[in-house]
Each structure stands twice: as structure tokens, then as C-alpha cells.
Amino acid sequence: MRLKIFIYQLLILAFIIILWEFSSKAVPKVFLAPASVVFPLLVDIWLTNLDIYTHLYTTGFEILLSFGLATACGLLLGFILGTWRLLRDTYEPILSALYAVPSVVWYPLLLLFLGLDVASKIAFAFILSFFPITLTTMQGVSNVDKVLVKAAYSMGASKLTVFYKVVLPASLPIILSGISTGLALCVTGVIVGEMLGGIRGLGVLIASAATLFETAHYFVYTIIVIVIALLVNQIGKLFERLSWRS
């Protein structure tokens, strides 16, 4: 059964690549670059064009910084709101409402405040991942079984001990799933931000290659972004699995 599924999956992939190859022969070069051109170009750019590394570095830096900031702020606020009932009841509706707003609405404002360089992308990715991290942390902490907490208190545990020994382990799986969502959203945020207006980064490369009708280059950069996104996604899943084991 496993093997059968795997073979079907490979067949789909092969079908996509063959379709891509033949359809790109059928339409003008501007629209599609065939796989047989794109993959050699990918290798060529990767080995000879050192520029790609500075763009890669910029994008990676933006992703890591925005993710770090969003995780720190989201965890802090999530823990505060999760343990403090009154604040949660007051601010949860506001946070949920803001979370329902399509995130890209904020981007033109950020572009105006922070300029075209990296700061606006970091801020945008921060906004994207801050909400899911905060809201899931809050839910995870507030949904911890009250009996466990009471039992720990009645056995004489201090507030800090209860937090470390009971609340944190019990809510960890949910919190980590929020963080994993946030990580994926950071990648999306940074790429979207760069494509909508920027100076450096992979998103800028994609947008400018498309504007210049350099379709083969556009495909190469797209593939690089896809690989990065899938890798980051796997890292996020690893996080989640780690917590279930412990």
C-alpha cells in the first residue's frame, strides 16, 4: 500500500514535469521556460552567480529576525493573557478581530513608515506570525486542566513551580503548533513583502525577473523559494513532533 501510494505520487510529479516541458515548447518563450533550460540555469546560478547568496542572506535574515521577535512577543503576551482571566476576556475579542483582517492591508502603511529596505518586511512578517502564536499560546495556557493546577498548589507548589512543572508541559504541544504556523507565515510574509516592493531578497529577484520577462530566471528563483519554504515547513513539523515525544 505504501509503495503503491509512493509510485502514484512519483507519477504525478513526472506528469507535472513532462507537461511543463512540452507545454513550454508550445508557447512563446516569454510565457514558460522548459524544465530542460531551468534546471541547468539553476545549477549555473547557484555555482557562478555569487549575488544570489546576498539575496538569500537578506531573506534568511528577515525570516529569522521576524520569527524570533514574533515568538518572543507572542509567547510573552500569550502567557500573560492565558493566565490572567480578566485581561484575556478583555483583549481576546480585539486580537481575534485584528487576526481576521487580511494581513496585507497593513503592508502599505509599513512600507510608508519603514521604507523599502528590510525593516518593512520584518515588521510585516512579524504581524503575520505574531497573532497565531499569541492566540494559540493563550488558548493552550488557559485550557490547561484546572484539576492539575489545583492539585499542584495543594501539594504546596509555588506559583513559579506550578508554571514550570504543570502549565508549561501541559500546554507545550499546542504552543509549539502555534509557533510552527508562525514560522511558515514568516516565510510567506517576507516573500510577499519583498515582492510588493523592496531592494534586496529573493522576492525582489522574482518580481524583477518577471517584470523583465526573464522567465527562465523567474522559474529558478521560484524553485529556490519553494525549496526554502518546504524546508522551513519540515523544521516546523519537527518542532511539533518533538513536543509530543516529551
Binding site: 483582517v101 512600507l111 511558515a184 510588493l196 523559494v225 519553494i226
Partner: protein, 246 residues
């Protein structure tokens, strides 16, 4: 208790606005970038009819792409969710496509369909369909297997199993998929408009940002955010009513 929370929310709002106003009027930040709330309020009450025309344009596009994307997404989700082999085979593709930033495909879509209505709709449909599929598949696969066995043992045939068992049982997840879908299609339309288009509120916002009209941009941002919050709140109420009636 609810009254007290409302007071607290109102107090927070007033404090934020007051601090913001004083920070700007004391000259700590340049009003060119961060306009004081009083000026934003003035732009908010004097929003031009052209803005509402653009907003209407965007909402029409959102509705069209939502209808296409959600109908297709729910149909695909039900079929894929109810067939194990299909689900196993397609699962990594759907999740992979979902986890990469979809905006990287936008330049290609624009290349094929041109700037404007068609490419915006296509991109927004792509944006809507994936989360809808994922939520509906999850819902269908969570249906209690026994329900289907009972229906079969009572003599239900293929179509009846879908219309009498699977769809009613998956209704809650279909409703939440639709709620998610409309926000995603609004997001898709806004991204496509901001990236490359000649009409709509996203286009207008990007233009205001590049023209440094910060007070007007703030006003439009608040307007769009409010519209999104109202849409998701109304849909939430509707689906609550439908669930209650069952």
C-alpha cells in the same frame, strides 16, 4: 462583568489614541509618516466616493473568486476526503502547495492572463481553494466511520451516502472552511491588486503609500480592516445560526 470588560476595552482605545496624539504633537515622530489620530479621523469622515468605488470593485472580485474557489474547494475536499487512496496520494502535494508562499506564482499568472480582472480572480481562486480543501478534507475524514457503515447496511447507495451522511456530518467544517475562504479570497484579491493592477482598493492603497499620503492611507486601511472584521463577524453569526438549527 461584560460591561466592565467593555469599559476596559474603551479605556485602552482612549489611552492609545491619547498617547499617539500627544507623541505626534510633541514632535517625537514626523507627522509625514505617522499622522495624528485627529488628522486620520478627518480623512476618515471625508473619504472620497472614488475610494468607495474602488472598495466596491474589490468586494465584487472577492465575491466572484470566493464563489468559484469555495464551490470547487468544497467539492474537491469532499471527494478527496472520502477516498483514502486519493487522500494519501495527494496529501503531500496539497500541503506542500499550501505551505509555500503562493504569491510567487502571481507573476506567471499575470504573464498569462494579463494585468487586471482575470489574473486577480485566478490568483484569488488559487488562494481560496487550498485552505478550503484542507479544512473540508479534515472534516470529512473525521466523520464517525460507523455512520457510513450503518447507512450502507441500511441500503444507501453511492450518491445517497454523500448527500445524506457525509455532507451533513461534515457541515460544521464546511461552514468554517467557507468562513476561512472569504477572508482568504479578500486577501488574494488585495495582494494581486497591490502587486499589479489598475483598479481596486489594493491598488489605491499602494498608490497612497508611494505618494506619502499617510493620513488618507490610514483612513483607507481602517476602512478595509473594518469591512473584513464585519464580514467575518456576520459569517460567524450565520454559521452559528445554521448549526443551532440542525
Amino acid at each position: 462583568m461584560r460591561k466592565f470588560q467593555f469599559l476596559l476595552q474603551a479605556a485602552t482605545f482612549i489611552v492609545v489614541v491619547a498617547v499617539w496624539e500627544s507623541v505626534v504633537s510633541e514632535g517625537y515622530v514626523d507627522p509625514l509618516f505617522l499622522p495624528p489620530p485627529s488628522k486620520i479621523f478627518l480623512s476618515l469622515i471625508s473619504i472620497s466616493p472614488a475610494t468607495f468605488t474602488a472598495l466596491y470593485d474589490t468586494l465584487v472580485k472577492t465575491l466572484i473568486s470566493f464563489c468559484i474557489g469555495s464551490v470547487a474547494g468544497v467539492a474537491i475536499g469532499i471527494v478527496v476526503g472520502s477516498r483514502s487512496l486519493l487522500h494519501e496520494v495527494l496529501h503531500p502535494y496539497v500541503f506542500g502547495l499550501y505551505s509555500i508562499p503562493r504569491m510567487i506564482f502571481l507573476p506567471l499568472i499575470v504573464l498569462f492572463l494579463g494585468i487586471g480582472f482575470n489574473s486577480t480572480i485566478f490568483y484569488a481562486v488559487l488562494h481560496t481553494i487550498l485552505p478550503v480543501i484542507i479544512v473540508v478534507v479534515g472534516g470529512v475524514r473525521n466523520i464517525d466511520r460507523r455512520l457510513i457503515f450503518y447507512a450502507i447496511s441500511l441500503g444507501a447507495k453511492g450518491r445517497q451516502i454523500y448527500s445524506k451522511v457525509i455532507i451533513p456530518a461534515a457541515l460544521p467544517s464546511i461552514l468554517s472552511a467557507l468562513r476561512l475562504g472569504i477572508i482568504f479570497s479578500l486577501l488574494g484579491v488585495l495582494i494581486a491588486e497591490m502587486y499589479l493592477s489598475l483598479s481596486g482598493i489594493g491598488f489605491l492603497m499602494q498608490r497612497l503609500s508611494f505618494a506619502f499620503k499617510s493620513a488618507d492611507l490610514f483612513a483607507v486601511t481602517i476602512l478595509v480592516a473594518l469591512v473584513a472584521i464585519i464580514i467575518s463577524a456576520v459569517l460567524g453569526e450565520i454559521s452559528k445560526k445554521i448549526e443551532e438549527r440542525r
